[in-house]
Symmetry: C2
Subunit: 325 residues, 2 copies
Amino acid sequence: MSIRDVAKEAGVSPATVSRVLNNSGYVHEDTRKAVLQAVKKLNYKPNEVARSLYKGKSKLIGLVLPDITNPFFPELARGVEDYLQKKGYRLLLGNGDGKQQKEIDYLDTFVQHNVVGIIASVDNVDYDFLSNMNIPIVMLDRIVKDLPAVYSDQFQGGSLAAEKLLERGCKEITLVRGPMNIHPVYERFQASLAVLQEANVKVNKIDSNLSFNGAKSRAKELFEKYPDSDGIIACNDIVAVATLHEALRRGRKVPEDVQIIGFDDISISELVYPSLSTIHQPIYQMGSKAAELLLKEIHNEKLDSKRYKFSCSFVERETTKKVGD
Amino acid sequence: MSIRDVAKEAGVSPATVSRVLNNSGYVHEDTRKAVLQAVKKLNYKPNEVARSLYKGKSKLIGLVLPDITNPFFPELARGVEDYLQKKGYRLLLGNGDGKQQKEIDYLDTFVQHNVVGIIASVDNVDYDFLSNMNIPIVMLDRIVKDLPAVYSDQFQGGSLAAEKLLERGCKEITLVRGPMNIHPVYERFQASLAVLQEANVKVNKIDSNLSFNGAKSRAKELFEKYPDSDGIIACNDIVAVATLHEALRRGRKVPEDVQIIGFDDISISELVYPSLSTIHQPIYQMGSKAAELLLKEIHNEKLDSKRYKFSCSFVERETTKKVGD
DNA sequence: TTGAAAGCGCTAACAA
DNA sequence: TTGTTAGCGCTTTCAA
């Protein structure tokens, strides 16, 4: 069923139907009514594909995320989606899995589908590729040169984590370091490290990936290699929870024997027992801000700035010792 | 840049380029090479929108989920996405939030975008609407009349939960019941209830929604109203974890004083302390099976059955007492 | 105020 | 083996 059927039903030309539907050009009130009635009667819904083809642009936005299965990203995606949905845009979603091939594949096919903009949280696509796509783009939780980006202040967050542990009397702090090619993970690590090196404490490092399972085995290793750690900064909440779990298994008291700080403040951290102290990022807001920025770009509105940086905050729960304040 | 540019570059007609790209009709080997070279040189990528318009179908699949923020669904979405991605399809995603208006909105706009099939996990759209869309559809984790559906055996799962608690000696069991309009939640509740009523135990019920925060307050209520519960069956893992958390806060020993069983086996349940015993659903496989079924439908392959039912299993962790076996 | 016609980029039928 | 043409459903000149 097409615009022609509606035109026929209303006794007008397709052009007129189009005008009514798009509120463009002059239409006599009576014709308008007739058209609307026909639309209703036939339950006509315009074909967005034809629209997209003619106009050269759609109501589609592409979103590439590392992995929707990692609890950080659904929250981010939701922020994006809610904003776009309200503005009448739909979301094309892909999981890049940190693999360049997949990331590029999605980026390319999104463009082939006439998406009108892209929000990308990718780790392996370079500036040249991204800017050669010639399409509005906003990096999310990632930074690539001077491309518009929305993110949280990892430097501040990383410093905060270290300061809080220092304030709480830790003397031997172990950093569980995530993959260094992931920009925010790298930054938060460096920031913590810098603060700790200024202080009079022992600092250990151990590597981990960001997944539940990976972190579990690294947590075991952590307690074997650095049994005297009295403070742990994990690269994210998942890793922190895995570490916490392992600490308890080994009979370490948290926070009495070991204090643990995570990163992100995903919803799990509140539900764990003892609940996890962590560096909060406004995840949902980041997503929705990215969507907002992207739509502004698309509509050629002025951006105050191409960057939007949220601050992090320390959420104290039960894996750190309260200090008087 | 269009197929005409490639044609020009290769010194042939657009039709020939199309033939090469689609491996259809006869093309001389030399021309084929010339075309491929031109494609490469210009880095040409066909416009999927134009294809979609001409063919009346796309490489797009629509997925409507209740809420990607609920940890059950990312896993499901990932199963769907991975399968589709491998087959060259892309995903249009929407969160229905259990609201009819949003669910319908997404369904409608997906069709307007020429999606070639839909996977739906919706609670408020009826059979007539769904079947009138005239598009291949697979219900996921939901059942609507005789529409193709992929789900886990909630009846079996619910029974299992009750049986396990009975085996482990519980005498007063409280069921935390989720929203009864969500089909699988309803079924698992009924199944547990049926088993318990056959047994010689006291049964309590308390209502909750499925969210982290909702469950927290209901957990408090649970322990006030039914302080003697020695067994709890929660409607899902999130609710179970919230309940567990609250039990520990109140100094109840788990599983010594209270045993708790969740539902779903989302990844969180393994990371909680003590880790959560739960009814496992093969979430990822459900997603990928739904995608498989949908593509079969789309390609008019015979379906052995329009329904695909997975079984559930009991995953025993630390919130139930081990029994000798 | 309305309609006819062209064209977005592609593919398929038909002709050459 | 290849090219010409029409048309998918829509919007937008342009003419009436």
